[in-house]
Symmetry: C2
Subunit: 489 residues, 2 copies
């Protein structure tokens, strides 16, 4: 198990892979680029899903399920959309296997489909083909639907959780009577995503707009949340798109408005994915492994008995069980490690797995009526009277939740540089890393040139910030936008 | 909306389709045989998932996620398995689309895969390929994993929820050190499925074994729960398979036992699907539409104001809102229908949608400090004092839950016939319908002959019942098993 983890400073990518594998989060599947999410990783995903699903429902949305398979012809209906996804589509062409004369299993050529079908790389097309049936009048609007599903995009270079040929996500698809309402919805969801990231994942995020070249294929506007990882790279952690009337036009979805006129429906779509698990790993992890925010940690507390013989364990159990029961009743998620590994092994193991709080109980603690707590976020050791544990542990978990957020925020702030000269820009990107806040003249030419030079891209346009005092970091022309630049996953 | 539902007695299949469509449960998707689960249907599925997921976790299982895509070669590893699924596999052969010279979107021939991949029709093969990596020693056992995923089996004749090319399900896949433990697991899950069906879906089920010809492709034994629908046909509602060492042999998954010997692992797999939604519709529905068991109903109570003018509605709201708030706090799911349709329209609408309890409040009720309740299961009208509503409504919901179960049980009992002569058997199958309890000599010949004659199949072997006093209903030889025969979905 504990094979040692490559230090972050030595090779961040290897560190990441080591942690994912050794903590039992995920594995590659047999088909290239597919992912097996192992139980420990999946509980993490469930604990991310749960609060987001609740927020989605509390804001009036409902869940549904649309088919995995989409007719090829649907992709031709929205020109930008097909350009965005054509190169990574898994195509189903046949529907049967058979055993040939030599006993080999082959695809039955007679089962060839008349029209090939595509595994959804995203569901706008299939959903808008259904909305056409369901929407006739303004009374049918808004439609506020979300689904939790799997997605396939055939990727060549993959990394677990961050970029895989199949991933899990939620995708919301809403239909509205007015452009204003669609914009409001887009921003409302952006707010939910920010709340999810900051309050549950303890990851501070910047919110902003994507540039034309980075926005979703088929959207008018793409809003995003962007986070900084501990290697100072950016990770896009969620996107919310205002689709305008692009998909309603493509699928001819009109409604009769209050004035009895036919109008095209306005749309949004938005999603976050299992990529968020990767964000949690990289925003908080250190050389010992994961550091999980208590709100989403599979286990919030691990109890390690400092005793390996049977009578010692019995004493520990007698001493601590009532406390653990009481905490469980309060909703604290606890794992008791009674395995016959040494305490030292267990410490490493559970630190690697990122459990926020370790509770140690040994003979001396029992004698003194105390227990030792060790925080995963700071390494701090705290000795507490047994009778205050039930009260103090939930408070400590809150502190750890906040502590991780504060550390990540301080890290991002320290590594975000407001820059006005291009040489400074290049120096930071090449030598220091981090986010650059600067002016951009709004031209694609500038954007492309900077990307060519440095591989850095506009992570988001800080659309609320006033660019009037700034100049473009590259062209020196007056800035149209204040933007965040960085290298991205 | 309310286009009228075909009466069950006139055409049961049309009744079913009418209810599914008009209640907004599901629709066909654009690719043949695929299904769109609409929000009202999806909440029903979520309410079925929730208690089952809880039970699965309470019995020590954990959720995970295995890939959608499986290499074709995996299917050749277990001979029975490939036979069972070869004819309904969606095969992915290419990974890109492109635009050809005429501007048409085509599958890029250069993106052809070296080895075709299959969309999972079930996940034994991909999961056992991973278990091979994860299992080395008896210390790694048992592995108790479940996943909630989508499945594709290319079906020619489809019916929403019952048989579609794509459906949703959970599939558990466990690995054990001994045959006994695997058998115990198989039966434990069968018990959970029975509990789910009876206590939550209010559907009484028979539990039994499948015959060789009906068992899962690759299993040693398939246990099942079988339910009777209101057209007296059988619906297989869940299966739990003891896979023996078939898949561990196919994927060479061995473990070192306590005596340091290499042994093949023992396996089980088990699943229930969105088919259960079909079971709920057909086990309880009547000519007015759905009748939903309160425990899984999206809304348990619908409040219909018997007043259409604004001031009347205001009075209703003032009168009933505190009661509704109190009930919501108790966890009762309530819908308030303030739309401007007539009360009569609303009654029909919500009866069709199967809401267990209707709460009517009009001016006269307010005057008398009362409200009217109407039970969907019996049609019974109950007038209650306002101040007892919060207490009585949850009790009424419990009664309705029990009432639906009792009705379904009485219906099954009335339509289950113990039969010893084949002419009687045929007469019942042809003219009356229902389940037949009889002796079977255990031969495939008998089984096939009866199927040819009558289309009835062995729904399950009542393996706990003693056949020694019975003769085979067909051959007259001494019976090897007591079985349940019926026509099935």
């Amino acid at each position: 198990m504990s094979k040692g983890i490559t230090p972050q400073s030595q090779n961040y990518a290897s560190w990441y892979t080591d942690v994912v594998k050794q903590a039992g989060l995920a594995d590659y599947g047999p088909v290239k680029g597919t992912m097996v999410i192992r139980p420990y990783g999946f509980i993490l995903w469930e604990n991310i899903k749960e609060p987001l699903d609740r927020m989605i429902k509390e804001t009036g949305h409902v869940n549904a399920y649309f088919p995995l398979l989409i007719p090829k012809s649907f992709f031709s209906k929205e020109a930008e959309h097909i350009k965005g996804f054509a190169k990574e589509c898994a195509v189903v062409t046949h529907t049967r296997l058979k055993i040939d004369d030599e006993g080999e299993i082959i695809v039955d050529p007679e089962s060839k489909l008349e029209e090939e079908v595509i595994i959804r790389p995203t569901s706008e097309t299939v959903i808008w083909s259904m909305y056409k049936k369901w929407i006739q009048s303004y009374r049918d609007l808004p439609v506020l639907i979300n689904q939790w599903v799997n997605i396939v995009r055939w990727e060549m270079r993959t990394r677990l959780f961050l970029r895989t040929s199949e991933f899990l996500w939620q995708e919301g698809h809403t239909a509205h009577a007015t452009a204003e309402e669609a914009e409001e919805e887009t921003l409302k969801i952006l707010g939910l995503y920010k709340k999810l990231a900051e309050e549950f994942l303890a990851i501070p995020v910047l919110t902003g707009l994507k540039s034309e070249s980075e926005k979703f294929a088929g959207a008018e506007q793409t809003y995003c949340i962007e986070a900084m990882m501990r290697d100072k790279r950016a990770l896009q952690a969620g996107t919310s798109h205002n689709l305008g009337q692009n998909f309603s036009r493509a699928f001819n979805v009109t409604f009769q408005n209050r004035d009895n006129q036919e109008e095209l429906v306005f749309a949004t779509s938005w999603g976050v994915s299992t990529r968020l698990v990767g964000a949690v790993i990289m925003a908080h992890g250190d050389d010992k492994g994961l550091r999980l925010p208590p709100k989403i940690a599979p286990y919030q507390v691990v109890m390690v008995p400092i005793s390996r013989d049977e009578s010692g364990c019995l004493k520990v159990r007698k001493f601590i069980s009532p406390v653990l029961d009481e905490m469980r009743a309060k909703g604290v998620r606890i794992y008791e490690d009674w395995s016959d590994n040494t305490p030292g092994f267990k410490f490493n193991e559970w630190e690697m797995k990122g459990v926020p709080l370790r509770l140690e109980v040994g003979p001396r603690d029992i004698e003194g009526g105390k227990a030792v707590l060790v925080r995963r976020d700071t390494g701090e050791k705290i000795i507490l009277e047994k009778n205050v544990l039930t009260e103090q542990i939930p408070l400590l978990l809150e502190e750890i939740q906040k502590g991780l957020f504060d550390q990540a925020l301080a890290f991002r702030q320290k590594n975000t540089h407001t820059v006005s000269s291009y040489s400074n820009f290049k120096d930071i990107i090449e030598n220091k890393g981090g986010f650059i806040r600067c002016g951009w003249d709004g031209t694609q030419k500038t954007e492309m040139k900077i990307k060519e030079d440095t591989k850095a891209t506009i992570r988001c346009i800080l659309y609320k910030e006033d660019p009037s005092e700034m100049r473009c970091v590259y062209s020196g022309n007056s800035a149209k936008h204040v933007v965040i630049y960085g290298k991205a996953y």
